[in-house]
């Protein structure tokens, strides 16, 4: 942005002079390079041309001399730095003194009319305003784009006058109908651009639609004329029609895509009532849905579908209804869980299996394609995680770039004034709240600016620190307490299972229902502790609301992550090694079922929270407390709930490939429930909400603790936990990771020529050295990126200095112009008085 500006900012003295020179002394014309002129605005030229017309020939000569003098100086002092600048200034002044001109008096006081004219036509003041300026600006833009694209149409397609040439720069503006010629050139340039670029340019032009249409018509006419002149060959005519048809179908495709986007209407209604803050929650939810759809497409195509086509055995457990809650029972032996998947190569019977991943299709039978299930399982899960990670990191970097610009601005007040109004809000009451908010914020900012930091007393600070300390202690203690509680409770459940599995008299339904206790306990904790944190938060006073929000997020995150950590320990450290002692044949199935139960419980408690926390609380406060205020939608907490659910889903993909579907269904329901609850019960948030920064933080949280944690767990499971010996695709292997090695061995046995591949596998995949090298390269890339950003920052500060300097130059030049006029005026008066005395 800044560079852009530096380019468009007015007149470094150098180019200005060379420009004027082009009018006044044509001899030098040949010396100039076209690059000098590009940034210059023609209005100067015009003005100076007027000057020379106005005055007598002598004055023009004088001006010319003056200009050339100036020009020499400016060329000598091209790099703008302090002392030279000063020097030029002085010299310029002395020039002025010796120059005396004879010219007609120019009317006006203060700034002369010409000075004003120049001022008003400077690029900085005409960008986006003056029609001529816009057209010439876009003319340059299109030209640049065309050069970059190296467009196809060769030069002979144009009429000679429309060919781009260096000469035309010198000529522009000499004529009085400059705008017309500029427009013509713009039309030419546009016509030579490819269609998509042309449309983009047209759309981006700050002209009214009527004018754009006119330009477009001109372009179209021209194109037609050229086409008809050229006597199209059949082939290119066909091409032309194909292009037109393609464009039409593109448009209809676009409008179709537009109509596909889900929830458009609802989202817009929410943003109209609550602004960008609440909207960001729903957008986040939508992003999560997309992640899960992606995950499901991958697992569905490469795991579920091939296995569903080849069912290994039929297990008929009757459906009791409790399965929906526990995920066990008749669900256990279906494609839902890991244990159902085969450990052999699926024979080729239908077409589905043929088109697997490259890695997973193999030719071990050498006559036909077949589907190696263990390998497919391994690579599908691995690739799904990898691609999700890449997408997340990419979107993270994008939002980072958007919300934390390279240079922080120091003009907070101006920014507040111009960009704090949330234009999306259109509800009357919300608008009222927003005005009040902006008022208070501005007042606070003013207070801050006027009195800066008032040193608070030691006692006060100590008290505040104490309060913070107490608050943090309460939070950490309660979190630790809950962690310990969950730890011992899960141990108790585990022991209970160990004792009971031999006991045949226990009702199996009861047994399954018992499994629901752990998820319920965890969900209750997840529901109640954030409320406690909120209470503690009221006790504290924070200077800025953003710090308050960050602290709240940090505490909630701490709780959720520690819960998940304990659970992972329970599953991977306790259940997995001794699964036989609790009567399981397949611990992976059990973990998958547990995760299903957790997801479901999370959903049920979200429902309860919405019902009690929002609906009933609203009714209570309206009917009983007679308060007019509705509860405020707590964005941070709700987003963290979503992140928690997503972590569960990611953890569970390995054990239950269909889990993303459950998560998608859950998210859909949550969307509609939260949407109606927000509409019904909540009011616009009172606190200012930095939507773009918060979105960045949420995406980061989704990436760093959530996805990273899940993938660490999954990798650990694959790497070093022995899978169940009687079920699942990896039943004969020591670890899941061995699947690749196993396959390599088979491959080597089948055709020995491929032994290089297996050696490569041993060296590259199993050797940790290459892992380190990869990590090292990654770190180096990050380092380089940060260096580049640093460099950009430096360049920006340099450019800002330059802008300031050029602003001074501008002032100096204008003063200069003004004094030249004055002198001429005086000289004219003198002349007149001489005449009259004569």
């Amino acid at each position: 942005m800044v560079q852009e500006e530096a380019r468009s900012l007015p007149l470094p003295p150098g180019p200005l002079m060379t420009k004027s020179e082009s009018v006044l002394s044509p001899v030098r014309l040949s010396v100039r390079s076209p690059a000098d002129e590009e940034g210059v605005h023609d209005s100067f030229q015009q003005l100076i041309a007027e000057h020379s017309d106005n005055g007598a020939a002598s004055s023009a000569l004088e001006l010319q001399q003056l200009q050339s003098d100036l020009d020499e100086e400016s060329r000598d002092n091209m790099p703008l730095s302090g002392p030279e600048h000063e020097h030029r200034r002085r010299q310029g002044a002395s020039d002025l003194e010796c120059d005396g001109g004879e010219m007609d008096p120019i009317q006006g006081e203060g700034w002369s009319s010409d000075t004003l004219k120049i001022l008003s036509s400077m690029p900085s003041r005409t960008i986006g305003r003056n029609r001529g300026a816009i057209i010439s600006q876009y003319c340059n833009k299109t030209l640049k784009l065309r050069r970059r694209r190296q467009t196809r149409p060769s030069i002979r397609d144009f009429s000679p006058s429309s060919r781009p040439s260096i000469r035309s720069y010198g000529m522009e503006g000499d004529t009085t109908d400059a705008e017309v010629s500029k427009r013509e050139r713009l039309v030419n340039n546009l016509q030579n651009l490819p269609v998509s670029d042309r449309v983009r340019m047209l759309r981006g032009m700050p002209l009214s639609v009527a004018e754009k249409k006119e330009i477009r018509n001109l372009v179209m006419q021209k194109e037609k004329r050229i086409l008809s002149n050229k006597k199209l060959s059949c082939c290119s005519q066909l091409k032309y029609y194909i292009i037109i048809a393609a464009r039409k179908s593109w448009y209809s495709w676009l409008s179709f895509l537009h109509s596909l986007q889900p929830w458009q209407t609802l989202l817009k209604r929410v943003s109209g009532r609550f602004g960008t803050g609440v909207l960001s929650y729903f957008l986040f939810l939508k992003t999560l849905v997309f992640f899960n759809v992606f995950l499901f497409l991958v697992t569905g195509a490469f795991l579920v579908l091939p296995q569903a086509v080849h069912p290994p055995y039929r297990d008929t457990t009757s459906f009791s209804g409790l399965e929906l809650l526990t995920g066990a029972g008749s669900f256990s032996h279906t494609v839902m869980y890991y244990g159902y998947y085969a450990n052999y190569t699926l024979p080729r019977r239908s077409r589905d299996e043929g088109g697997g991943q490259n890695a997973s299709t193999l030719t071990s039978d050498s006559q036909q394609f077949s589907y190696n299930m263990p390998l497919a399982y391994f690579f599908t899960i691995g690739m799904a995680f990898f691609i999700t990670c890449i997408i997340l990191v990419y979107s993270m970097s994008k939002t980072f770039g958007r919300s934390f610009r390279i240079n922080k601005s120091n003009s907070i007040l101006t920014m507040k004034t111009f960009s704090c109004w949330d234009f999306k809000v259109i509800k009357k009451k919300s608008v009222q709240i927003m005005s009040e908010n902006i008022g208070t914020q501005l007042k606070e900012l003013l207070a801050e600016l006027t009195q800066k930091h008032t040193k608070s007393t030691f006692c006060k600070r100590f008290c505040r620190l104490m309060v913070h300390g107490v608050a943090w202690t309460i939070c950490i203690a309660s979190t630790t307490g809950c962690m310990a509680g969950v730890y011992y409770f899960s141990e108790f459940i585990h022991k209970d299972l160990q004792q009971n599995h031999r006991n045949l008299y226990v009702n199996p339904l009861m047994k399954e229902a018992k499994l629901l206790s752990l998820p319920t306990v965890v969900s209750v904790i997840n529901l109640l502790l954030p409320a406690l944190f909120n209470l503690v938060g009221w006790m504290e006073t924070y200077e800025s609301p953003s710090v308050f929000a960050y602290v709240a997020i940090g505490r909630n995150l701490m709780l959720k992550m520690s819960m998940l950590g304990i659970l992972c320990f329970h599953w991977l450290g306790r259940v997995a090694p001794e699964y036989k002692s609790i009567g399981l044949t397949c611990w992976e199935d059990f973990v998958g079922q547990e995760l299903y139960r957790f997801l479901l419980m999370d959903f049920i408690f979200t429902l309860l929270d919405t019902l009690f926390g929002e609906l009933l609380w609203r009714l209570f406060s309206e009917k009983v407390l007679k308060r007019k205020r509705k509860p405020v939608f707590d964005i941070a907490r709700n987003v963290l709930d979503l992140i928690y659910g997503q972590t569960l889903a990611w953890l569970g993909v390995l054990f239950s490939p269909v889990l993303p579907v459950v998560q998608i269904l859950k998210l859909f329901l949550v969307f509609y429930i939260k949407m109606s609850s927000v509409m019904l019960n909540c009011q616009a948030p009172r606190k200012p909400y930095r939507a773009s920064q918060m979105t960045t933080i949420f995406i980061t949280l989704l990436c760093i603790p959530s996805l990273l944690g899940a993938s660490v767990c999954v990798t650990y499971t694959m790497w070093s936990i022995t899978p169940s010996t009687s079920c699942g695709p990896f039943r004969t292997l020591d670890t899941m990771f061995k699947a690749g090695k196993h396959w390599m061995e088979i491959l080597e046995k089948d055709n020995p020529s491929l032994s290089v591949l297996s050696k490569a596998h041993t060296y590259f995949v199993e050797n940790p050295f290459f892992l380190f090298v990869g990590a090292g390269i990654f770190l180096i890339v990050i380092y380089f990126h940060s260096q580049v950003v640093d460099g950009q920052r430096k360049i920006i500060s340099l450019l800002q200095d330059q802008i300031q300097n050029e602003g001074e130059d501008k002032k100096f030049l204008i003063n200069r112009l003004q004094s030249v006029h004055k002198q001429k005026q005086d000289a004219g008066k003198r002349l007149k008085s001489q005449d009259s005395t004569c």
Partner: protein, 192 residues
Amino acid sequence: MGNKQTTFTEEQLEAYQDCTFFTRKEILRLHARYRELAPHLVPLDYTNNPDIKVPMTLIVTMPELKENPFRERIVETFSEDGQGNLSFSDFIDMFSALCEASPRELKTIYAFKIYDFNRDNFICKEDLEKTLNKLTKGELTPEEVTLVCDKAIEEADLDGDNKLSFADFENMISKAPDFLRYRHLFGYVFIF
């Protein structure tokens, strides 16, 4: 279908599509909404480009604009005659420039125009005062308003002429991450 065909010719629709950020459906929808504002004035048939303008008083009753503190300025900025009377072209122009798809550059230009109340190509103190008063609806005292104006100009003025030129404005806006986010005035136009 026949209904849609008679509103615009194929060529007109294509021209609108090329010059705005809207799809064919949206353009027809916009026309319907334009017509809703003044059914007796605006014909259904636009194939011969009738020269009809809807006055500002009707335009600002649209739900998108009704509560916006800058509604009059927005409408004025986009009207060809500067009085706030919008022809259909101006109308569609307004929606296109402020919709979600339009680039930051374009929005910055129009935002500058909107904030420039006295149309002198600068945002000077008067403009800022008006902006503030509209934003806060009288929450600030006059002294506070002047103070904020002084400070704001001091902060954002790069070339030291005590008013904000477009270059200053653009520079300032480029550093505000929320600017773009908040400026999709008409993103949701098609529901209400």
